[in-house]
Amino acid sequence: MAFLILRRLVQTALILLGVAAITFLLLYALPADPARMIAGRSATAQTVANIRRELGLDQPLLVQFWAYLQGIVHGDLGRSYAQKTDVGALIAARIPATLLLMAAGILVEVVLGLTLGIMAALRRGGPVDRVVMMASFVGVSAPQFVVALLLLYIFAVTLGWLPMSGFGTAAHVVLPAATLGILGAGWYARMVRSAMIDVLNQDYVRTARAKGLSSARIVLRHALPNALLPIIAMIGIDIGQFMGGVVVVEAVYGWPGIGQLAWQAIQQVDIPIIMGVTLVSALAIVLGNLIADIIAPLIDPRIRAQ
C-alpha cells in the first residue's frame, strides 16, 4: 500500500507536469500580449518591447517553460506581471478562505444532498420524492448569480441575520456555503436517491430489517454505505473544483478566494498567476481523486486497492 501511494504520488507529479505543459502552451498560443496589457494604451512600442524583454517573453517557449519549471522546483511560482509580486504569496493569502469555503460548501451540499436523496428514495414515487426531484432540478438549473443574490437579499439585506459580505467570522461563511450547497445538493440528492433505491431492494437490507434494527440504522449503516461509492467520487471532484475557486459565489459575497484571483488574472493575461492557480487547483483535483480512490476500498471491501 505504501508502494501504491508512492506510485500514485509519482503519477500525480507527472499529471501536474502535464497540466503545466499544456497550460503553458495554451497561454503561449493565446493571441493576447501580456506586455501590452501591462503597458496600457499610452506606452510606446519601445516601452512594450522593454517590458517584454524584462518579463522574458521574447524567449522561445521551451526556454520560458524550462525557467518556469526550475522555479517550481525551488518552490517559486514566479512573479505576477500585473501586480509585480510573488504569485506564491498571492495564492497563499487566498488559500485559507478557499479551503474554508470548500469545506463548508461541500459539507452543506453533502448533508443536504444525502438527506434529501435518502428521503426521496425511501418515499419513492410519493409527494416527498417528487418535491425533492423538482427541487434538485431547480437547484441545478438556477443561475448561480441569481441564487446568491437572492439569498443575500433575503438573509442579509431584509432579515439582517447575516453579514452581506466579507470573510472572518463564522457568520460570514454561512451564505456562501449555503449557496454552493443549494446549487450542488441537487446532484447529490439525485445520485443518492438513485443509488439508494437500488440498495434498498437488496436482500441484505431485508436482513437488516428482519433483525428489527431502527430505520435510521438500516438506512444509514446498512444501505447508505453501499450507495456511497459514486458520492465519494463526486466529493473528490468537488474538492478539486472548489479549490480552483468558485468565481460567482466568491464575487457576490466578497469572498477572498482563489476564484476571484484567477478570474482577474485571466482577464489580464497575468500568466504567472494563471499558471499558479492552475497548478494549485490541479493538485487539489488530483489529490481529491486520489483520496476518493483510497476511500473506495474502505467503503466497499470487495474492491481491491489498486
Binding site: 500500500m1 441484505y204 436482513t207 428482519a210 433483525k211 470487495r302
Partner: protein, 560 residues
C-alpha cells in the same frame, strides 16, 4: 388440527393467507389460503415443491415481502393476539429479530457486503438486548462458536465475501439465534452446510427450543431433516398447503399423491452400495465410450491463497491459504464428487480449476494448461468447461431477464441464431422443470430453487465437456432434485460429460459420483472410487461425515 389448538394458544396463527405477485401481465396468485398454527415449543417443518411458496410464507410472517412485486391480498397472521398484517412498521420492528427471527435462504446476498461480520452480529444483540459493545461482542463470539465456525475471532473482522458459502450460512444462523427469539423462521438453514455441521446446527436449534420454549418453523426440502426435527409437517405445492399433520403420521400415512412422491424420491445413503458408477438413467442410449483415452481435467499441485486487501496504508489481514497442494484427474463421462467441511476450499478449488481466480500449480483442461491464459485464449476452453455457482442469486445479472441469461452462452459462443435460441432456451427451461414463461422474468422474481435451476440451465446450454457443479442441487426439493440429477446423468451418458460435483449431501454424492474426494482445510484427505470411500472410509473425518447424515425416518431420530 383443532386438536392442537385446544391444548394451548398458538404463538403464531395464520389464516387464509393469500399473496399476489404483480407482473406486467397482471396479478398472479402465489399463496392461496394458507392456514396453520404454530404452538409454543413446537417445530413445524414446511416442505414442498421448489417454488411452492415456502419462502413467501415466511416473508409474509415477517412482513418483509418486497412491496413492489408481492402483496398480501387477504388473510391474517397473528402473533399471540397481535395481528401482524396491519401492524405499523415501528411496532413490527420490535417483533422482528426479538420475537421472531429469520434465517434467509440465500446467505451471500443476505449479508451486507460492506459491513464486517462482527458488526452485523452485534448490532442485533445490542438493539434487542441493550447490551453494550463489549458484551455484545462476547455474545457474538459465543454464537459463532455455537455454529462451529473456525477461527471465530478472525471472522468478526472479516467481510462476507471472504467467507465460504457455508460459513455465511452459519453467520446468518448465529445472527438469528443470538437474540433468543420466541419464534425462529429458518428458510433452508442447513442447505449449504456439510452434514456434520448441519447436525450441530440442528442440535443447537433444539436446545434453543428446549431452553427458551421457542417455536420453530423450519423450511427444508431435506426429508431427513424433517424426520429429525419436526413435530408437525406441512407440505406445500403450488402456493397451497396440501397436507399437514404430525410427523409420524405424515411419513407413515401420506394422503396426497405429491407427498407420497416426495417421500418416495428421498435418496437414502447406502442405496447404491455395492455398485461402481451411478445408475444408468437412459438405458436405451448407447453408452459413451468410457473411460476416455485422456482425462478432461488434470489438476496438479493446485494452490490458492487469498490475500485480503489492506485496509489502510500498511495494515492488512495475513493471507489465507484456501487450497493447498490439491491434485486430481477427471475423465470424460466421469463424476468426481467433492465433499468436505464447509470452508474447506471446495468452491475455491472449483473456481481455480476454471481459471476464475488466481492460482499456482497446473490445471489442464482438455490437455491445455490454463495457467496464465488471457481471456481470449480462455474463450474456446470456456466453451467446453462450465461452472454452476454455489450462490445462484448472486451469480445472475439482476438486470437481465432469465431467458436472456440462459441464451447468453449461446450468443457468446455464437452457437445458435435468434430463432433457434428461443427454442433452446424454452427447451432448457423445460428440462430443469421451469415453465417457458420464466424466460421473460427477472432473477428476483424466482424462488431459491428456481434460480438454482436457471443456473443449471445456463451451464447446460453449451453442452460442455466439463461442469463444475457447486452445491448445484442444494436448494431443490427432492422430487425436482431427482429430476435434475437424472438430467445430469443422462447428459453424462449421452455426451460423455465430466462433473466436478461439489456437495455436502452425501446421498447425492453417492448417487452421482464415480470417484469421491474428501476435503478439509484446503487439502484432500482421502480420494478414491465411490465404493471405496463410502463403504470403507479410511479417514476419521469421512466416517464422521457418514454418520452425521440424517435419516429420513422420524422413528430413527439421532439427536433427541
Amino acid at each position: 388440527m383443532k386438536l392442537y389448538t385446544t391444548a394451548s394458544t398458538p404463538v403464531l396463527s395464520i389464516r387464509d393467507l393469500c399473496v399476489d405477485a404483480r407482473t406486467p401481465e397482471g396479478r398472479r396468485r402465489v399463496l392461496q389460503d394458507v392456514s396453520f398454527d404454530l404452538n409454543p415449543g413446537e417445530t413445524l417443518c414446511i416442505a414442498g415443491e421448489s417454488g411452492s411458496g415456502k419462502s413467501v410464507t415466511s416473508l409474509s410472517i415477517m412482513q418483509l415481502l418486497p412491496k413492489a412485486s408481492l402483496q398480501i391480498a387477504s388473510g391474517s397472521i397473528k402473533l399471540g393476539d397481535r395481528e401482524l398484517t396491519n401492524l405499523s412498521n415501528h411496532a413490527m420492528r420490535s417483533v422482528r429479530g426479538g420475537d421472531i427471527a429469520m434465517v434467509f435462504q440465500e446467505p451471500m446476498t443476505s449479508l451486507n457486503p460492506v459491513i464486517s461480520i462482527g458488526t452485523q452480529l452485534t448490532e442485533a444483540i445490542r438493539e434487542h438486548q441493550g447490551t453494550e459493545a463489549g458484551k455484545a461482542e462476547a455474545i457474538a463470539l459465543q454464537m459463532l462458536d455455537a455454529v462451529h465456525i473456525t477461527e471465530p475471532i478472525r471472522r468478526l473482522t472479516q467481510y462476507p465475501h471472504e467467507l465460504s458459502g457455508g460459513m455465511r450460512q452459519r453467520v446468518m444462523i448465529a445472527m438469528a439465534l443470538s437474540c433468543r427469539p420466541k419464534v425462529l423462521l429458518a428458510d433452508e438453514p442447513t442447505t449449504a452446510l456439510d452434514v456434520t455441521v448441519q447436525a450441530q446446527i440442528l442440535k443447537l436449534m433444539r436446545e434453543l427450543k428446549r431452553e427458551f420454549g421457542a417455536s420453530i418453523i423450519l423450511i427444508t426440502h431435506d426429508m431427513g431433516v424433517v424426520a429429525e426435527m419436526a413435530d408437525r409437517v406441512a407440505i406445500m405445492q403450488n402456493g397451497r398447503i396440501i397436507e399437514q399433520g404430525s410427523t409420524l403420521a405424515l411419513f407413515e400415512r401420506p394422503k396426497e399423491l405429491y407427498t407420497r412422491q416426495l417421500l418416495a424420491a428421498v435418496p437414502r445413503l447406502g442405496a447404491h452400495a455395492g455398485t461402481d458408477g451411478p445408475p444408468r438413467v437412459s438405458p436405451q442410449a448407447k453408452p459413451a465410450d468410457v473411460p476416455a483415452p485422456s482425462p478432461v481435467l488434470v489438476v496438479r499441485d493446485l494452490n490458492v491463497t487469498y490475500g485480503s486487501p489492506a485496509r489502510w496504508l500498511f495494515k492488512g489481514n495475513p493471507s489465507v491459504s484456501a487450497v493447498a497442494d490439491v491434485s486430481f484427474e477427471l475423465r470424460s463421462g466421469e463424476t468426481l464428487g467433492l465433499v468436505g467441511e464447509s470452508g474447506s476450499g471446495k468452491s475455491t478449488t472449483g473456481k481455480a480449476v476454471l481459471g476464475l481466480i488466481p492460482f499456482t500449480g497446473a490445471v489442464m483442461i482438455g490437455g491445455q494448461n490454463i495457467a496464465g491464459l488471457g481471456a481470449r485464449q480462455m474463450q474456446p476452453i470456456r466453451r467446453t468447461a462450465q461452472m454452476i455457482f454455489q450462490d445462484p442469486y448472486a451469480s445472475l445479472d439482476p438486470r437481465m431477464a432469465v431467458g436472456a441469461a440462459i441464451a447468453e452462452p449461446l450468443i457468446i459462443h455464437g452457437l445458435a441464431d435468434k430463432g433457434e435460441r428461443d427454442d433452446r432456451v424454452a427447451e432448457l427451461l423445460r428440462r430443469v422443470g421451469l415453465l417457458p414463461d420464466a424466460a421473460s422474468r427477472y432473477p428476483h422474481e424466482f424462488s431459491g430453487g428456481q434460480r438454482q435451476r436457471i443456473c443449471i440451465a445456463r451451464a447446460l446450454a453449451l453442452e460442455p465437456k466439463l461442469i463444475v457443479a457447486d452445491e448445484s442441487v442444494a436448494a431443490l426439493d427432492v422430487s425436482v432434485r431427482a429430476r435434475v440429477l437424472d438430467l445430469m446423468l443422462e447428459l453424462q451418458e449421452t455426451m460423455g460429460l465430466a462433473y466436478l460435483f461439489i456437495s455436502h449431501d452425501m446421498a447425492v454424492i453417492e448417487r452421482m459420483s464415480h470417484n469421491v474426494a474428501v476435503m478439509r482445510s484446503g487439502r484432500i484427505l482421502e480420494m478414491g472410487t465411490r465404493r471405496e470411500v463410502f463403504e470403507n472410509p479410511k479417514d476419521e473425518y469421512t466416517r464422521a461425515l457418514m454418520a452425521a447424515v440424517p435419516i429420513p425416518d422420524p422413528r430413527d431420530r439421532q439427536l433427541v
